[in-house]
Symmetry: C2
Subunit: 193 residues, 2 copies
DNA sequence: TTTCGGACTTGATCCAGATCAAGAAAACTC
DNA sequence: GAGTTTTCTTGATCTGGATCAAGTCCGAAA
């Protein structure tokens, strides 16, 4: 149940032998079925979730009721409404399971306690944040300057998992195009990869 | 020379009386003239810069030689190629002064030392990072789902400083539109605000 | 196994914003 | 302050992707 988590941590920091066991107790395992919501916009986001198995998406809903997919998370990724989690404000995003999933939840309090006890985790989360900023910035530049097809190809290259597992409509929203357009692009790309 | 910096810090954390003086010594003041570069893509970004006065932009240049403005920084903002600064890799962004500017530079080593000495600064930088993530995410959603005019109006509302001080071509690039389009939008908006 | 509803595809049309082109207005030279 | 360069504006045209409108293809439920 904790394989993905420890592999994510050990990719970034060195753990003492006993620390791995210690770390486990800060997390609450949770199974969630396809289509269930982990978070509804308007609630306070009480935890960040690490995905051991399965896949989720976060999305906002605008005034006209259109959904905007903000992120996906497969095995080895974290997902949350960071702003709400860290500040305690109401969440603006919803989080929904796209497959039956197994999560490890970390509350604000557990996180704080863990950071105090296990020094390496401070570094782990700082590295995560940094990577997150870098990848958001890349996505932003891509969204402003690339064509729909180029954005699709880039996603296919960097995150083929998402392409193969998420439904087309959600990928379309994530890329900022309509499902019709993505369907055409997909045909195009499968013809001339 | 340090007014903006301390106001930025005191907005987020409480400082002991003597700490303000202590903090100063970690920074290197630097004046930079309009059109000078603080960072060239390909170099390693050795510091993050706090803007006491003036204005800068960061931008990348793609394979066809087109510039893509990633961020602006006026008084009270930080600017850097975070990825390069934190990892020591080559910078992908350039940083250029758009006005004669006064900066406070913080190197990796100074930063580390400061974080060890003055505990509140750890929190300060964590809060900065968080805010940065939240605002990047907002910008991303806007860039994918808003019309050019809406993005312009949003920027005008949130950051009128940028609109009034940066040259049109750079604002256009920041918003992901052509200068021609932004010129027309501007006329439109000035007519019907 | 049929049947129903959502998810995907395909085609026709439309439009926001790009591109191309040419002036007008600032902004740096000397 | 005249001349040169750069930036901005305006107009005409073009195009990637949106929108609208049918289908078609599932998978789940009975």
């Amino acid at each position: 149940m904790y394989e993905q988590l420890f592999s994510s941590i050990r990719d970034r920091v060195r753990l003492a032998d006993n620390e791995a066991e210690e770390i486990k107790r800060f997390f609450v395992p949770k199974k969630i079925r396809k289509r269930q919501f982990l978070l509804n916009a308007g609630e306070v986001c009480r935890y960040i979730a690490f995905v051991e198995k399965g896949m989720l998406r976060s999305f906002s809903v605008d005034l006209q009721g259109h959904e905007q997919v903000v992120s996906f998370a497969c095995e080895g990724w974290w997902i949350s409404d960071l702003s709400s989690f860290l500040s305690g404000d109401e969440a603006v995003y919803n989080i929904e399971a796209l497959e039956d999933s197994e999560l490890l939840l970390l509350t604000t309090e557990s996180m704080e306690e863990m950071l105090n006890h296990i020094h390496g985790m401070e570094r782990y989360f700082r590295l995560l944040m940094q990577n997150h900023i870098v990848s958001l910035q890349r996505r932003l530049v891509a969204s402003l300057n690339y064509s729909a097809e180029d954005k699709y190809r880039k996603l296919l290259e960097i995150n083929p998992d998402i392409i193969s597992r998420a439904p087309l409509q959600h990928i379309a929203s994530y890329l900022g195009v309509t499902p019709e357009t993505l369907s055409r692009i997909r045909k195009q790309v499968s013809r001339k990869p």
